[in-house]
C-alpha cells in the first residue's frame, strides 16, 4: 500500500468504527422498538458503510453489507419477522463486518461466527423469504467499484487514536497562540530596554501573556474532553449478548452520556467498566424464575449513571439483583485469615475483601456472592487513574459500585513540601491537614507515632525513608495524608503550599518505584517528584516502629 492509500485506509477505519458502533446501537434500538424510523436509520448507516468499504477495497465487506441491506428490505416489507434470533444474527453481521475490514469485535466472543458463515446465513435467509408483493426499497446508485483492488488484508498497525475537534475551537486556539506570540514579543521588547520600565510595568506585561496562556490551556483541556457515552455504548451490546447466553432478562439503562471526560480517562475506564458490568449480569442479577420467586419483576435492571461532582467524575454501576452475600464473604474471609472473628461487616470491609486479589480464585466464585472475578483488576485500574471505588449493597435489593475519577490525568492540584534541597508534591486530595511535629518526636528515625486528637497516628520521616541524608531542621512539619479510612503522617522540613501541577511521566528507569507516582517541573526548571500516597500509607503501616522500642 502506498502511504497515501494507507492514509485513506486509516481514515476509513476510523469512520467505519464509528459507523459500525452506530449501526450496533441502531440495531439494538430496532430490537427494542421496531419502527420505520429506526429501520430507515439502519439502512442509511449500512449504506454509507458499504460505499466506504467498496471504495477503499474491501469488496467482501461491501458484499456482506449488500446482503444485509437485502435482508433489511425483507424486514421492512414484513416478509421477515424480527425476532430475537434474527436480532442476534444482525448483530453478528456487524461483528462480521468488523472482521472483514480488520477491526476487532465488541460482542461476546463465544457467540460470534466467522464472517463467511454470517454471510451465508444472511444470504440463505434472503433467498428463503422472497418478497411476494411490496416493491423493494429504492437504492441509491452503487458507488464506483475500485479501479484496482488493493489487498484488503487487516491493517499492519493498530489504528491511531484520533479525536474530532470542532473547527471553531481550533480557530480559537490559533488566535490565542497568535495573541501569545504578540504578548511575548512585547514583553521581550520591554525587557531589552528594562531600564525604561518599572518592575510593576514589566510584571503587568507578563501577566497579560499569562492570562492568554491560561485560556489556551483551558481550551486544549476542553478539546481533549469527550462525552462518556461513547465509552458506555458498546456495553449495550455486551449486556444483551451476555443476558441472552445466561438466560436472564436485563434492562440496560444509561444516564449522563453527555458528561465529558478526558479522552485518556475514557479510554482507561473501559476495562474496569467491562468487569463491573459483566459481574453484575453474571452474578448480581438473578434468573427470571428466581426473581419472580423473590417477588421482583422478572426483568432485572442494570444502570450506569455518570455525573460530575465537585470536579470529579462519578460513575455508578447499579443492579437490582441479589446483593452481596455478606455471610459467605465473611466466613470465607475468616477461613483464609483475612478477617478476625469479631471484625465489623460494613460495606467498606466487604469491598476490601472482595477486591483482594487472591480472594476470588475461580473455585470459589460461584459459591461466594460471585462478585470477585476481575474485581482486583478494577481496583488496580481505578487506582492507576487516581480514582476511588466504593460499594453499597442491600441483600435482595442489589449492589451499586461507585467509581470516582479525576476528570483529567495530566494536571492535578498538588501540595508541595520541602525536604533538604528537594521538593515533593503530594496530590491535594490526599492531604488532610498539616500539623507541627511535637518536640518530643524530634529524635531521628524513619518512623514514629504521635497522638493526634486522641488517636495514634503513625508517621514516616521522608528524609530518612528516601535516604536523602542531611540533618533535620529546627522545626519539622507533619502532613497528614490519607486515602479512604487509612491515615498517616509524613514528616517534612517545610510546607510550600498548593498549586496546579502538570504531571510528567518518570521514564523507563524510574517508573513504578515504590512511593513515587510521577514528576513535575517547578518554576525554576527543576524536577520535583510526585508522591504516591496509597503506597506510602502502606509502607508506613507495614514498617516496624523503632520509636516504640527506643
Amino acid at each position: 500500500m502506498t502511504p497515501e492509500l494507507q492514509q485513506v485506509h486509516a481514515i476509513f477505519l476510523v469512520e467505519a468504527e464509528e459507523q459500525l458502533a452506530t449501526l450496533e446501537r441502531e440495531l439494538l434500538a430496532l430490537e427494542r422498538s421496531p419502527g420505520p424510523e429506526v429501520l430507515r436509520a439502519v439502512f442509511r448507516t449500512v449504506h454509507t458503510f458499504k460505499g466506504g468499504a467498496a471504495s477503499v477495497g474491501h469488496p467482501e465487506a461491501a458484499e456482506l453489507a449488500h446482503t444485509l441491506e437485502d435482508l433489511l428490505t425483507l424486514v421492512e416489507t414484513r416478509a421477515v419477522v424480527l425476532h430475537a434470533g434474527l436480532g442476534s444474527l444482525l448483530l453478528q453481521a456487524v461483528d462480521a463486518l468488523r472482521e472483514r475490514v480488520g477491526l476487532s469485535a465488541t460482542g461476546d466472543s463465544t457467540l460470534s461466527l466467522p464472517a463467511a458463515e454470517v454471510q451465508d446465513l444472511l444470504a440463505n435467509l434472503v433467498k428463503a423469504a422472497r418478497p411476494v408483493g411490496g416493491a423493494p426499497l429504492e437504492r441509491a446508485p452503487e458507488p464506483p467499484a475500485p479501479t484496482e483492488p488493493e489487498s484488503p488484508a487487516a491493517p499492519e498497525q493498530a489504528p491511531e487514536h484520533t479525536l474530532r475537534v470542532g473547527l471553531s475551537r481550533l480557530d480559537r486556539m490559533l488566535d490565542l497562540t497568535g495573541e501569545i506570540a504578540i504578548a511575548r514579543g512585547r514583553l521581550a521588547t520591554m525587557l531589552s530596554q528594562a531600564h525604561r520600565y518599572t518592575p510593576q510595568q514589566l510584571l503587568e506585561a507578563h501577566h497579560e501573556g499569562d492570562r492568554l496562556h491560561l485560556d489556551l490551556q483551558e481550551l486544549v483541556m476542553k478539546v481533549r474532553m469527550v462525552p462518556i457515552g461513547r465509552t458506555l455504548q458498546p456495553f449495550a451490546r455486551a449486556v444483551r449478548d451476555l443476558a441472552l447466553r445466561l438466560e436472564k432478562q436485563v434492562r440496560w439503562e444509561v444516564s449522563g452520556e453527555d458528561v465529558e471526560v478526558d479522552t485518556t480517562v475514557a479510554e482507561l475506564l473501559r476495562d474496569p467498566l467491562t468487569h463491573l458490568v459483566r459481574n453484575a449480569v453474571d452474578h448480581g442479577l438473578e434468573t427470571p424464575e428466581r426473581r419472580r420467586a423473590r417477588g421482583k419483576a422478572p426483568t432485572g435492571t442494570l444502570s450506569v449513571r455518570a455525573f460530575h461532582e465537585a470536579g470529579t467524575l462519578v460513575i455508578q454501576v447499579a443492579d437490582d439483583g441479589a446483593g452481596l452475600d455478606r455471610e459467605r464473604i465473611l466466613s470465607r474471609a475468616r477461613a483464609v485469615g483475612l478477617l478476625g472473628a469479631e471484625a465489623p461487616s460494613d460495606d467498606d470491609t466487604l469491598l476490601r475483601l472482595i477486591l483482594e486479589p487472591g480472594f476470588s480464585t475461580a473455585a470459589h466464585v460461584t459459591e461466594l456472592s460471585g462478585r470477585g472475578v476481575g474485581l482486583d483488576v478494577v481496583k488496580r485500574n481505578v487506582e492507576a487513574l487516581r480514582g476511588t471505588l466504593q460499594v453499597e449493597s442491600t441483600p435482595g435489593q442489589g449492589t451499586t459500585f461507585h467509581l470516582r475519577l479525576p476528570l483529567t490525568l495530566s494536571i492535578i492540584e498538588g501540595f508541595s513540601v520541602a525536604v533538604g534541597n528537594e521538593t515533593y508534591v503530594i496530590p491535594l486530595e490526599h492531604v488532610h491537614e498539616c500539623v507541627e511535629l511535637p518536640d518530643a518526636e524530634r529524635q531521628p528515625g524513619r518512623t514514629g507515632m504521635i497522638q493526634l486528637r486522641g488517636t495514634a497516628l503513625p508517621y514516616l520521616r521522608l528524609r530518612e525513608h528516601f535516604g536523602l541524608g542531611g540533618g533535620p531542621p529546627a522545626r519539622e512539619s507533619l502532613v497528614v495524608i490519607g486515602q479512604g479510612r487509612g491515615q498517616a503522617g509524613l514528616a517534612v522540613d517545610a510546607l510550600l503550599g498548593q498549586g496546579q501541577t502538570v504531571i510528567k511521566p518518570l521514564g523507563t528507569f524510574c517508573q513504578g518505584l515504590p512511593g513515587l507516582s510521577g514528576s513535575t517541573l517547578l518554576g525554576d526548571g527543576r524536577v520535583a517528584l510526585i508522591l504516591d500516597v496509597p503506597a506510602l500509607l502502606q509502607q508506613t503501616v507495614k514498617s516496624p516502629n523503632p520509636a516504640a522500642s527506643a
Binding site: P357, G358, T361, E422, H465, F466, G467, L468, K504, P505, L506, G507, T508, F509, C510, L513, P514, G515, L516, S519, L521, G525, R526, V527, A528, L529
Partner: protein, 172 residues
C-alpha cells in the same frame, strides 16, 4: 566473543568523544542528540544506583545515567567541565532518551572502518562486551574506547534481575 565488528560501527564514521574517569570514550555521533551543561539533577529514591536522577530537558523529564557506577569505574567528581550528553538508546524494543554524565567533552572524531579495531578481551577498563571497538587516532596514536550504549544499558538489567529476584507468589 569472536563476532566480527557490527555493521553500524563500520558504517558510522563520526564519533563524539568524552572523558570518563580519566579515559577517553566515544559514541556514534548519530546517537548523540545534544550536549548540555550539568545542572541540578533531582535524585529519585529507589531508582537503580547508576541513575543519578532526573532533569528537565525542555519540558521532558529525562534520566541521567552515571556510567562510572554502571561500568564499575572510579566515581565521578563534578567539576565545571562536567556535562550531560543526551543520547538515544534502544532498550527492550523501545527508543529512550537519556543523559550520560561525562567529566568533559572531547571532540568529534572521524574514523574509517580500518581505524576501528576489535577490542582486546582484557586490558580495557570496561568489559569488552560493552565496546563496539577501539578507535585508533591517526593524529597522535591514541586509542579511544567506542562504547556500545545499548549493551551497557541492557546488560546491567540482567545483573540487577539476578541480584534482586522478583517477589514471588503474589497469587498463591
Amino acid at each position: 566473543m569472536s563476532d566480527p565488528i557490527e555493521e553500524p560501527s563500520a558504517a558510522a564514521t563520526q564519533y563524539l568523544s568524552f572523558q570518563l574517569a580519566a579515559q577517553e570514550y566515544a559514541l556514534g555521533i548519530l546517537r548523540v542528540k545534544e550536549i548540555i551543561e550539568y545542572d541540578t539533577v533531582t535524585p529519585v529514591p529507589g531508582a537503580p544506583p547508576w541513575v543519578r536522577g532526573v532533569f528537565n530537558l525542555r519540558g521532558s523529564v529525562v534520566p541521567v545515567v552515571d556510567l562510572t557506577v554502571k561500568l564499575h569505574l572510579p566515581p565521578a567528581t563534578l567539576t565545571r567541565r562536567s556535562c550531560i550528553v543526551v543520547v538515544e538508546a534502544h532498550r527492550a524494543g523501545e527508543t529512550i532518551v537519556l543523559g550520560l554524565l561525562a567529566d568533559a567533552i572531547g571532540q568529534v572524531l572521524d574514523l574509517g572502518p580500518e581505524d576501528v579495531l576489535r577490542p582486546p578481551s582484557f586490558g580495557t577498563p570496561v568489559h569488552a562486551d560493552y565496546l563496539l571497538g577501539l578507535g585508533r587516532l591517526a593524529t597522535d596514536a591514541r586509542f579511544v574506547l567506542l562504547l556500545d550504549i545499548d549493551r551497557v544499558l541492557n546488560a546491567q538489567e540482567i545483573a540487577l534481575a539476578l541480584a534482586a529476584p522478583p517477589a514471588s507468589g503474589e497469587r498463591g
